[in-house]
């Protein structure tokens, strides 16, 4: 009772708050966790300084340890001075940066690729930012973008034609990834709706298509596109190699996208359909205004997931002889000037892929937060 007068709020015990409390709760809650935590810390302690040293502090960029400009592998400190302690030799990436980005695209025409990249960002803006001014007009541009990009990259309409065997590096990776995902998305929606259609012919066709494509590995489809497709086409009609691969990639992605979206459609309660029908909406109105917006919203994590998967799967095209980012890297290693620098090349390629896939996953997290994906449907 006498304490009442000088009552003061006592802080909680040090061991339960702040960094100490957090780590006690999350890292050292029992002896197994403590052991794993210490083990991981030990490995990180070993790994991070070593990697930083290899990739930055002891690494060569433009010049080697003697200050000479690196023009081939023999100038790399690691090769020139095998006894010394030297790290990565990034000159291979720097000297061949153009090839990594554009392949063998003629340098006097490369502004077309850069312009396409810029326009790609413009085309993505209305999708990424909801409150951008003039969004309605920008969306029209976004829809027209694939055609504009094709003319810019390939040629025609007054532009010099650049055959696709000159394309390579990140350009091929992005063309396959962006076009594949962009075309597969609407195709996937149609397939998903088709599979749930009450018209047996449509639903059977869509089901067969999806099951067939999902039932074979991407590499099989790539071979199909590369090897067998030309044999079915009439003589003289020689589809471009990249287009054939793009067809295979798109069909593959569309089948997966369809199943992801169908998953979203399954989750929409019947009441939503009935409500839409009872106010007299047609099939397409109902889907466009009521069903799909909700279905796609709950499918976002999976849509991004398959898109990331596809983006990485594009490296498979090396097996049929297209030089994507990884293929250009391997080509660089096969040049006697740079052979043996495989760690540098693979780390660089991994970094580029990580930048793209990580941005995609971050964006999807942002979308999920904004749209509150996990909401209760009934209360919406």
């Amino acid at each position: 009772m006498e304490n009442n007068s000088n009552f003061e709020t006592r802080k909680p015990p040090v061991a339960t708050t702040g960094i100490i409390g957090w780590s006690r709760q999350h890292l050292f809650s029992n002896w197994v966790n403590s052991f794993i935590t210490l083990l991981v810390i030990y490995f990180l302690y070993q790994l991070i300084p070593w990697f930083l040293d290899w990739s930055v502090f002891s690494a060569d960029f433009w010049t080697n340890y003697k200050g000479e400009l690196i023009v081939d592998r023999t100038f790399c400190s690691r090769v020139a001075d095998p006894e010394g302690d030297h790290g990565a030799c990034w000159a291979i990436i720097i000297v061949r940066f153009y090839q990594f980005m554009y392949g063998f695209y003629p340098s006097e025409q490369v502004w077309r690729v850069n312009l396409t990249y810029f326009l790609l960002v413009v085309a993505l803006l209305p999708l990424l930012i909801e409150k951008i001014p003039g969004r309605k007009h920008l969306i029209k541009f976004t829809i027209a973008f694939p055609i504009i990009a094709f003319i810019l990259l390939y040629g025609g309409f007054g532009f010099q034609v650049i055959p696709t065997n000159k394309w390579g590096g990140l350009l091929v990776t992005l063309v396959l990834g962006v076009f594949g995902i962009a075309i597969a998305f609407p195709l996937g929606i149609l397939l998903a709706l088709g599979r749930r259609s009450q018209l047996p012919v449509i639903s059977m066709f869509c089901t067969l298509f999806i099951e067939f494509i999902r039932g074979v590995p991407l590499i099989t489809l790539l071979f199909f596109g590369m090897v067998m497709l030309p044999l079915f086409l009439p003589e003289g009609l020689n589809l471009d190699g990249l287009v054939r691969v793009l067809v295979a990639v798109t069909l593959f992605q569309a089948a997966y996208m369809a199943e992801v979206i169908r998953g979203g459609l399954q989750a929409i309660p019947r009441g939503q359909y009935e409500a839409a029908q009872s106010v007299g909406l047609s099939y397409w109105q109902m889907n466009r205004k009521i069903i799909l917006p909700q279905a796609i919203r709950i499918s976002i994590p999976s849509i991004v997931n398959t898109s990331i998967g596809l983006f990485k799967d594009t490296t498979l095209v090396i097996i049929i002889g297209l030089l994507d980012l990884l293929g250009i890297g391997r080509g660089a290693l096969a040049d006697a000037t740079w052979m043996g620098l495989s760690n540098e090349v693979y780390v660089f390629v991994a970094l580029v892929f990580f930048i793209f896939t990580f941005s995609m996953s971050r964006y999807s997290l942002y979308l999920e937060k904004k749209l509150k994906t996990g909401i209760n449907m009934g209360a919406d």
Partner: protein
């Protein structure tokens, strides 16, 4: 699968056989040549994005023969799996992609090997510290071997025939083999001799490694075209032969202009000063001059790409001229 492939090859053949490839190439204005996606010394893009290498030179020689310009080639990259369908479908005019000449490829797949530009064979590479100078002394060694290849079978045959034992360490790729060998996890690496040289060149200190002289298999590598268009096959065949003959006759890119005044009849025939041999191939009579001037003779191409002074450091050995103890031999130019 092989049967299926051959059916497709036949179908493709039916589509393309009636068109004269040489005329197609001339009308198009450039040659379409299939190469690897990158193999040290044989084909790889340089820093400026131009393809270079020993196989690439065959493509360039054909372009020089047809157009008098060795740069009129477009390269299509092919892999071990895609090379044959790409050629069969007519997407490329010829394939120069270190491809071993075998009966089934020549006959069953419907292709025509026009010659051999590199005689390869399976060999062994070991650390020089091992002190062995012949493969029969490798009793009990651990061998790095690519699984599922003919090299695996050749290896088993060789060791069995010589009654010595070994332990296999199965690996998948060249890179993997290199890392295992350099880390000492295997004593021996066996694959085609050219591949061994490439592996050796990538070592921090190549002198610590030796390629043994034993060659235990035949791998004749050469350019090929589709069956059925003999005129086109002849053009490619004689472009390759020209490089070999030029070496025999001592004509190189540096002395080719002076050689036009030579008193050796075959040199004059080769350079188109006498006789109409180019016309027989429906090429210009100086086609061989263009090849030698722009690409060089066989030894120039060899030395530039894979020879002793390159990182690969491959000796001529089997690929020396027949007059120098090798088996490189071209029919006479007459």
């Amino acid at each position: 699968m092989k049967k299926l492939l051959s059916i497709f090859a036949v179908v493709a053949f039916a589509f393309t056989a009636n068109a004269g490839t040489l005329d197609d190439v001339k009308n198009r204005g450039f040659l379409k040549c299939g190469v690897t996606t990158g193999l040290i010394g044989f084909a790889a893009p340089d820093d400026a994005g131009n393809w270079a290498g020993f196989d690439v030179d065959v493509c360039r020689a054909v372009a020089a023969a047809i157009f008098g310009d060795s740069s009129k080639v477009e390269f299509t990259t092919t892999t071990g799996k895609s090379r044959f369908p790409t050629l069969a479908s007519g997407e490329i005019d010829m394939l120069a992609r270190n491809t071993t000449w075998t009966l089934s490829r020549d006959v069953n797949l419907g292709f025509e090997f026009v010659g051999v530009n590199y005689y390869d064979g399976q060999g062994f590479m070991i650390p020089s510290a091992l002190g062995v100078d012949d493969a029969t002394g490798l009793d009990g060694a651990t061998v790095c071997i690519q699984t599922g290849t003919t090299t695996e079978l050749n290896l088993a045959d060789f060791f069995r025939a010589n009654n010595i034992s070994y332990e296999a360490l199965p690996i998948e790729t060249n890179d993997e083999a290199r890392e295992n060998l350099f880390a000492g996890r295997c004593d021996v690496y066996t694959t085609d001799a050219s591949g061994l040289s490439a592996t050796r060149a990538q070592a921090d200190n190549p002198n610590k490694w030796v390629v043994l002289p034993n060659i235990i298999s035949k791998e004749p590598l050469g350019p090929l075209v589709r069956h059925g268009d003999h005129q086109w096959g002849d053009v490619v065949r004689w472009s390759l032969n020209t490089m070999i003959i030029a070496e025999e006759l001592g004509v190189s890119s540096s002395n080719v202009d002076d050689s036009k005044g030579s008193n050796i009849p075959e040199v004059l025939r080769l350079l188109g000063v006498e006789g109409g041999y180019g016309e027989m191939l429906e090429l210009s009579n100086d086609f061989a001059y263009n090849i030698i001037k722009q690409v060089g003779n066989y030894s120039e191409s060899f030395d530039r790409n894979i020879g002793p002074d390159t990182p690969l450091g491959i000796g001529r050995n089997l690929n020396a001229l027949w007059t120098d103890g090798g088996i490189l031999y071209a029919p006479p130019f007459r």
